[in-house]
Symmetry: C2
Subunit: 249 residues, 2 copies
């Protein structure tokens, strides 16, 4: 089989998230698979590195698909060109590469970076407003940094997962959380080996509650320990969230 | 009279340009005047530094209004706060300042900067797509630079004006045209003492025709000399155009 790896960028605003599943219409995966099916004349299964929720964006999502060598009649460049010509303007293929047979966009991934972008400038941002969440209250960055330090490392993140039926392990490692303020925009950058359902958005909601003074940073260890979703902060809205990068061995 | 100067930012996509005139609905000036009228309880005339066309944006438009001192009961900060609370998300007041009695946003202006932003990256830009014009053809920047040099200085720009009934002088001075390429986005920056109707968009259309090879830079002097709109390039679409700054003595 030929194995192709796609690097994909999208504005998630109009979509029901990455993953095609059951009756969910209008997903990014579905858009891409439909175009690949037209190109190859047969159904193609695309493996994404992970789901992104409805309304979440990607600077660089990774996906792969396999096709019998005998049907693999297009070069990487031809695939990219055809897909970009067919896709709506809010989805772009940044690159197509031939991958090793064993490469699987989800199973081979070792870590991911997500960014959450918050507009806390004096005057609300106009031109990036669709990709920011606006916070009017002043944020205490020192306290947010302190809370972020408690969240870094290997923990059971069950309190930070919106899937109550989650049977699998909820232990994950966050390698790093960075906070950067530039031109009134606070970017919280999460690098971890994996993220549970809504985890980045709940981490962000919790950090924001710390930032506005509703929650003390020192409360974080007991929130982790509780393994209870209701203890953590709110689920921050999707529009500020970007999948930035996926790392492989 | 108290004289107030407003610094205004807007995404022009949804609006019929800056200027309220005759039957034109949904202009930016009208939005601002309506809010000021509600604030002061009587009609307010706002002078903009100049019109921007339908669909054109502003990073910093300047406008002023006068009000009898006896009615001037709000501080600059209160005016800004009230306006930002009332305005839609695509218009923001960046600042309000008390101005000298003689200050007039249009008549006192000595020069302006406009930028036109063109997406000529390998893959089309997603997140700024509403504020860019996409050009698929490769652009010859050296030739565009050469053409820009011919356009710089004091000239009769009648060929670069879409108003055929223009009775007043069409002589203007362009102090500088700069071209800058960053992350696949070409920004053409125009600094001049004044711009005619559609002038920046026709200058840009002409530079783009030079860039894709449809027009030789050496043709520019005869286009200027002709004083004939049909000799210059096309009128580039409004969405890539930003009013950046207005200068006063």
């Amino acid at each position: 089989m030929a194995n192709f790896c796609l690097l994909i960028q999208y504005d998630g605003s109009r979509y029901n998230g990455w993953q095609r599943q059951g009756n969910t219409q209008n997903t990014i995966q579905e858009k891409l698979e439909t175009i690949l099916e037209t190109l190859y004349g047969e159904p193609i299964d695309l493996n994404g590195s992970g789901r992104t929720d409805a309304g979440v964006h990607a600077l660089c999502q990774v996906a792969n698909f396999k096709i019998p060598r005998i049907l693999s009649r297009y070069s990487c460049q031809e695939i990219q060109q055809y897909m970009n010509d067919s896709l709506p303007k809010d989805i772009r293929i940044l690159g197509v590469e031939k991958a090793d047979d064993r490469f699987h966009a989800r199973l081979s991934a070792i870590s991911k970076i997500y960014e959450y972008r918050i507009d806390c400038g004096e005057v609300a941002n106009i031109f990036d407003r669709r990709y920011l969440v606006r916070i009017e209250e002043p944020l205490d960055f020192t306290k947010m940094r302190e809370a972020a330090d408690y969240l870094t490392g290997e923990h059971d993140f069950k309190s930070f997962c919106d899937n109550r039926q989650m049977k699998k392990s909820t232990i994950r490692t966050i390698h790093d959380i960075s906070l950067e303020l530039e031109n009134g925009i606070l970017t919280i950058r999460y690098h971890g080996n994996g993220f549970l359902y809504h985890m980045v958005r709940i981490l962000t909601g919790t950090l924001l509650e710390v930032g506005i003074g509703d929650l003390l940073p020192s409360r974080i260890p007991s929130i982790l320990e509780a393994r209870d979703r209701s203890m953590a902060g709110f689920t921050a809205p999707p529009q500020g969230l970007f999948l930035i990068d996926v790392f492989y061995e």
